[in-house]
């Protein structure tokens, strides 16, 4: 598997887990502890896919998604939005994400989403 994946989550345990799962699958993985750090990494390293937590200090998932839309250099990068809340609640504040992953998740969901979305972004 090839592709650069960015994981943005303030919970170290979650970010480290997704990092380990995707690294074992052969992807290159970067992590960020909040939305602001995540955006900085996106504009610098241009990941092919982003796993983005909804609830975070400093800058949350909804704000990151809005910032991505207004920056042509990172607009269109597929985003998996993550939350322990139901998608309907999160969707009230968020749009422009590609897929939703409810916490707690299984590691198979992480690999399935990465494969699917990286293939899609390759073919577009």
């Amino acid at each position: 598997m090839t592709g650069l994946v960015l994981v943005v989550d303030d919970e170290f345990g979650i970010a480290e887990l997704i990092d380990a799962v995707l690294t074992d699958e052969g992807y290159r993985v970067l992590t960020a502890a909040n939305g602001r750090q995540g955006l900085a990494v996106m504009t610098k390293d241009h990941p092919d896919l982003v796993f983005l937590d909804y609830m975070m200090p400093v800058m949350d998932g909804a704000e990151v998604l809005r910032a991505m839309v207004s920056d042509p250099s990172i607009d269109g990068v597929p985003v998996v939005l993550m939350s322990s809340m139901p998608e309907a609640m999160v969707a009230e504040r968020c749009s422009d994400y590609t897929a939703f992953m409810r916490k707690p998740f299984k590691i198979a969901q992480v690999t399935t989403l990465a494969r699917r979305l990286l293939i899609q972004s390759d073919s577009t």
């Binding site: 303030d10 919970e11 170290f12 345990g13 979650i14 970010a15 480290e16 887990l17 380990a20 799962v21 074992d24 992590t31 502890a33 909040n34 750090q37 937590d53 909804y54 609830m55 975070m56 200090p57 400093v58 800058m59 949350d60 998932g61 909804a62 322990s84 916490k103 707690p104 998740f105 299984k106 590691i107």
Partner: protein
């Protein structure tokens, strides 16, 4: 039996007052039940979330063991991660237990001789991974030893909350943990270089389910951490204050009696 058609005026006033009191008590009880329901929902959420890394790390370990892909070093690394995630879970469960004990008036300190400097160094060390992940450096300025008689778990609860808040709300910036002896007292503080806390928010952050940050920002975590800290500090006959730090950020300062003449039963 002949019933009076109407109560005498003084009896009517007292019945109305009793009814009013009853209504007030019912309103208080309804509010208490609602608060308990909120607490149960928050508690369930708080205990479910840290299970994700634990189960995920175990699944990852199993998958790699079955595929024969892990070296013994990778195996050890994964098991250490599971251990760390379980420690995190136990801390959250401990906070919930403290909330429940404080609320029901069953919180009791277990006093024993303790070295605060040692505990501070150990706690900062435990945050090494989280701090590195958030881009924070945690400086520690403590004397070689600071002996006293305290409840060690209660001290850990205070330190864990203050340090994790500093790392979470002021990422990518330095955090300083310091302590000093002041005769029969000790004073320790956790200083961050974050956005600071407004004067209006300083009292509010020690209330239950409160966060000082604006509603436009969504934060993970519990919101009772500082309430628990405030309650524990009070139970230890100490004080906690939050001030602006010189050069920006906040500094939480806790002052506690040392009980050098061991306050043991």
């Amino acid at each position: 039996m002949n019933l009076p058609e109407a109560l005498p005026p003084e009896a009517a006033t007292s019945a109305e007052a009793a009814l009013e009191e009853l209504r007030r008590q019912i309103a208080v009880l309804i509010e208490a039940v609602a608060a308990r329901d909120t607490f149960i929902a928050v508690a369930a959420h708080e205990l479910r979330n840290p299970m994700t890394p634990i189960i995920g790390q175990i699944d990852l370990l199993l998958a790699n063991l079955q595929a024969g892909r892990y070296s013994s070093a990778q195996l050890e690394h994964r098991v250490r991660r599971i251990r760390g995630a379980m420690d995190h879970f136990i801390k959250r469960a401990g906070t919930l237990l403290d909330v429940s004990r404080i609320t029901s008036g069953r919180f009791q300190l277990v006093l024993a001789p303790c070295d605060l400097s040692d505990l501070l160094r150990e706690t900062v060390e435990n945050f090494a991974d989280t701090a590195r992940f958030s881009g924070c450096s945690v400086e520690i300025e403590v004397p070689e030893n600071l002996y006293g008689t305290w409840d060690r778990l209660a001290l850990e609860q205070i330190l864990d909350n203050l340090i994790s808040n500093a790392i979470k709300y002021a990422p990518s910036r330095p955090v300083t943990v310091s302590a000093e002896a002041l005769g029969s007292l000790v004073r320790f503080s956790v200083r961050d270089c974050g956005p600071g806390i407004s004067t209006g928010d300083r009292a509010r952050i020690f209330e239950r389910f409160e966060r000082a940050v604006g509603t436009s920002e969504r934060h993970s975590g519990f919101g009772v951490g500082l309430w628990v800290v405030g309650q524990i500090v009070a139970a230890m006959e100490g004080t906690i204050v939050v001030d602006d730090a010189e050069g920006g950020g906040s500094v939480f300062t806790v002052t506690l009696p040392r009980y050098l003449e061991a306050k043991l039963p």
